[in-house]
Symmetry: C4
Subunit: 382 residues, 4 copies
């Protein structure tokens, strides 16, 4: 479509603009298979807890692992900066809204302690569950080594925007191909959103890709930087890259939708767009086990010079088990995410994630229409 | 339209996005014919009360029947679980918003009593009006038989998503064709939204189809499961299936739009899209005769593990007669639904429902625009 | 565009979705000519006050006439039902929001007094200004005659939806052609919105057409009946009919955009779409001279069985002169409507209304976007 | 696209409807070059403070100049009407919302004093920074001369809508070509939005063009006059004119996006659309150095007869230095505008503004969707 003289732009879509179509065949939800595979290993729950300090600590990672999912511990967060993270987390929870961003900025000035990296990983491994940890590209070589030695199962290298070709004369950029080769454990790289970059990153030897840049309404990347690709289009495009790579090289590398999924329905749509797994933050921040005590903040919040997110109150609504498997006591799609996914797959007639990726999607915006406003009025009628 | 590389999606439309065009001929509203026919029997009012416990009980069904419409009694609800439903309904009405979902969940744990099925139907029949009852497919064979024996006039088999081909190794799926053949009273099947599934279901020997999956803003199916097709497109598609079936087999099977209609205008649009009748819930929950006492909840609300709806307060605004035939004392389109339909048909120049189905529809989104916000400001000006 | 299988719909546009493009030539606003002509007579102000009881009474019509505009007195309203309308209007203004619709309904049960028709028209004529009056088609023959005899200058026959071919076996429909021929004063007919109906009505001998069915957000016709065509498309279509009629018959019959214009910008857009004049209600209801005392209600509000509008509070913000010519003390486009039109015409480079009708229009929705919400937040910052 | 019979309209886009796509190459933000050039002179910061009385006075212009940017002093505002502007500004800040528009109207009735023009320019020049000043076309010849003599560096001729061909029989329009030739300092002309007008104005000898008519949600030009072109399309179109002019004449004349940018992201998008620099008002009104004391009003606000804007409270959130360079203490994109631009350019892989102008833009509306409303609900959960 033309946006101006000599200038074309492609229309992209977000979760709120699409919907899934029921199948001509339906399946008993109890009988659908939602497991996924990364680097030859199969996990029962395709929902990953994001590397955010209000979501994942050692205790949370252990509980998540026991329930069949994965949780990523941020190696550059509070857990590796502080021996006693509890009191720091308490402080964040008790701060007023006005102080929150500044407080978070100051807390992250404390240097990372390398021995805490090993210690946290060992604490998770002791419980017999997978340990997944993350860092930014600049620290990946050092922290990747430490993580590997401490027994981590997967290493995530994550930046807001990751490409194979980062230009800087001031520092040396991470050579992703060399890094993946060096690492003895699987590496997940992110985030990216375009077909071309996804294809390039798939060629590095990575075991998985994170898809999503500025998709969520909570994240302010789009407002601050003007950058962001809505998740439906981003996932479809990167899934096309994964499928093309698979056709060329015979290797199927899973893509993980990261960000912008606030309810069960959004997760279902992410799979329908082509995701192999999803990474979720705020939904898990509401768990009793979440270290954030009902608060949640993105990893761009502590940025010293240009914070792009703030601490938000999400509340604590149930245990992690309830959020994953129900029973739901809220009807808003924020609990029993696995049950929602299974029911959705049953209704569209998908026996497993690969079939779910082929579900028919329609464009059906759920904007604030007259009728909805009317209905809201009714709700608040006396 | 392309939503991503290699991925196309169709644009679908909801009631709030379309509008009807006045005709070049207009008709005196008093002289239009709104009656509809199912299984050879003609009913004067093409508006059916939905099988919801806050809407239909025996008393409501009788009043509705006397006014020329149909009301569906849910055989799996409070009326067949409790000898004395009044006190249970009172309890729901008195519960706080926080307790409501859990209370409703617990109330529906009480087993269904088969003798109450017969009793309720007989109570309705005693008043000399049609008895229409419903169950989910799993219980249709048993309850269908009981209903038939008790003298029911129509049996509705209803699930969120119904297809001819349901896959399960854990239980036997209902064989709709055999079921329709066995039943001596007309059967209505639902819900579906696509051309293909509608066509398959029409071939079962059913007397009617319910159209609508996750269309309403009040229903949270779309948020929880990501599934839903806006009603304008769903009705148009299923009407095309009905017309094709009629051309092939010579049998005209009515389709009933179910859900998403909050005002008279929405009902008018449903007919213009091709519906033969409409099924309405919340509008009738506001009647003095409604058992919900001004409260309303969907049949997905009591779901033990994944509730998809909650109890909402709709208020009591008039008698059922006033809601159907006026005089309206509210100007919001929630009263005098029959009068609105007749006036609309007169203005577009449709002498009967079949002509109304051919009315010109335009796309004219009623989004919350600047001008409307401005107007709302004016309204609240001192 | 396809809205469903075998079903196409045309995309229509409203004022909030379009905008005007500045010209490559601009003109000193003082030097543009905004006058318009009907039946050979030229009027300096192309803005007409609508036939609504909260807007026009004798005093208002006189003031409007003196300022160069026209105001339509409703012959079926309070002014012709009550000898002393002031106390009735006072009652409406003093009613609570809950009572308003019912009170208005009851007030309009009082029969129309024919002698008041003559009396009101004579009162207006005594002031030396044009008297314009209106009735519905059913009463047009009788009231038209009375109006003519009393010295009225223009007679308006107005119904929500008017066509040449109204079908009824219960009463005789008005023969518009015969009526126009009988009347010795110019007749304006309305309302219509489509090319075909406009063309048919233009052939009746009418001197003007009113364009607009259910366009305004305040009017609830679209919610109640599902009917309505957004004004941009309606005006463009009917302007095309007018131009075609002119080409065929050599007679230029003006079209008057009626409804949906809440601000100066909307009025400017109506002319750009092809209107020769505009008819405005709520903007004038805010005048000190308006009989509504800061309240406003549509002529569908008193409908006994199906009211489609309610009394709304608009407030009193200035004199009629200020609303028409400024100085504006509000910056929201509700004052100095003539100044706004002239400035707009100057900026797009239109010397007169005919040139304004050729202005370039763009589609540029002014939806409630993120940026606007952000800006509103800023406004309310402490 | 068709908006009505025989009537086509082009779809135009605003900032909120588009987004930028991350590059396949990324760059260290510290290493991107954001400088821009006008009339052979290069400035380090491509963000200009708008000629608004709540934003720019002598002190602000000096601080802006020291930080590498430009600030335009309005020669027709409070600074040249009052010897002691501080008390006048204090009065505006202390006025109630109701009085504000009328007070501002009255304050601007005070005549402009020519000696203050010279004095203000000299005060700025004394600090060793560039002096940029503005007037409307009617006063450009007189004030341009005064400004030149007083040592101004750039003269801006600005009106809401500027064309080469202004028609008036009452006064003589400014001959832009002659004016640019007479002036010894560079001239910037504005505002325009279309390809054709931009091309005509580029041929006058101007050194820069201001792009933007009625784009901002705060400005009420669109509501009052119906006129306005969304900035994305306006900038793309005028950038095409600039590029065409450059190809024909070999002269590259920068275009400056003016208005509608409320956050860092909007500024980034303006450059991606083709802007060489941006002009910003409200973001700077929030600076401690801004004369408005946390208040902001447009230059159309004091219009005696047709005000198109009002005084709004924006608050004071940091120093000008913080707003330009951070550290940001707000995460909403209103602080560290330069940091945001550099980070955005790094992420899309643009080494300088010229490369930024080629960034891929997508259409991705950020409307108030269901998901966002849901998220807002979460935020306010207890």
């Amino acid at each position: 479509m033309w946006i101006g003289q000599g200038r074309k732009a492609r229309r992209c879509y977000g979760f709120d603009e699409v919907s899934l179509v029921p199948g001509t065949v339906t399946i008993n939800p109890e009988e659908v298979d939602i497991s996924w595979e990364i680097d030859g290993k199969r996990y029962p729950v395709p929902i990953i807890a994001a590397a955010m300090d209000g979501v994942v600590d050692v205790r949370f990672a252990i509980e998540m692992g026991k329930l069949g999912g994965l949780a990523v511990l941020n190696l550059e967060g509070i857990q590796t900066r502080y021996e006693e993270p509890e009191e720091v987390l308490e402080k964040i929870a008790r701060a007023s809204s006005e102080q929150a961003t500044e407080l978070v900025q100051s807390i992250y000035l404390e240097p990372i302690k390398e021995k805490l990296i090993s210690q946290r990983i060992e604490e998770i491994k002791k419980a017999g569950v997978p340990a997944v940890v993350s860092s930014i590209p600049q620290r990946a070589e050092r922290f990747g080594k430490l993580a590997e030695e401490a027994g981590a199962d997967i290493f995530v290298v994550q930046a807001t925007v990751t490409t194979l070709r980062h230009i800087s004369s001031q520092y040396k950029s991470l050579d992703f191909s060399r890094f993946c080769k060096q690492m003895k454990i699987p590496v997940i790289i992110g985030n990216c959103v375009t077909y071309k970059t996804a294809l390039e990153l798939l060629g590095t030897g990575t075991s998985g890709l994170l898809i999503g840049i500025g998709p969520g309404a909570a994240c302010t990347t789009r407002g601050v930087l003007g950058i962001g690709v809505p998740q439906v289009t981003a996932i479809c495009d990167c899934a096309a890259a994964r499928d093309f790579y698979y056709k060329q090289k015979g290797e199927y590398i899973p893509i993980i939708a990261d960000g912008g999924m606030v309810r069960g329905g959004d997760i279902c749509k992410a799979f329908a767009c082509g995701a192999d797994a999803v990474m979720v933050g705020s939904a898990f921040a509401r768990a009793k086990e979440a270290p954030g005590r009902g608060y949640h903040w993105g990893m761009a919040t502590p940025h010293a010079n240009l914070p792009r997110g703030t601490r938000i109150r999400v509340g604590t609504t149930g245990t992690l088990k309830e959020i994953l498997f129900g029973p739901a006591r809220l009807d808003d799609g924020s609990q029993n995410l696995v049950g929602a996914l299974k029911t959705s797959m049953g209704n569209v007639g998908a026996r497993n994630i690969r079939e779910m990726q082929l579900t028919e999607i329609i464009i059906a915006p759920s904007i604030q229409t007259e009728g909805k406003v009317f209905q809201i009025q009714q709700k608040f009628m006396k």
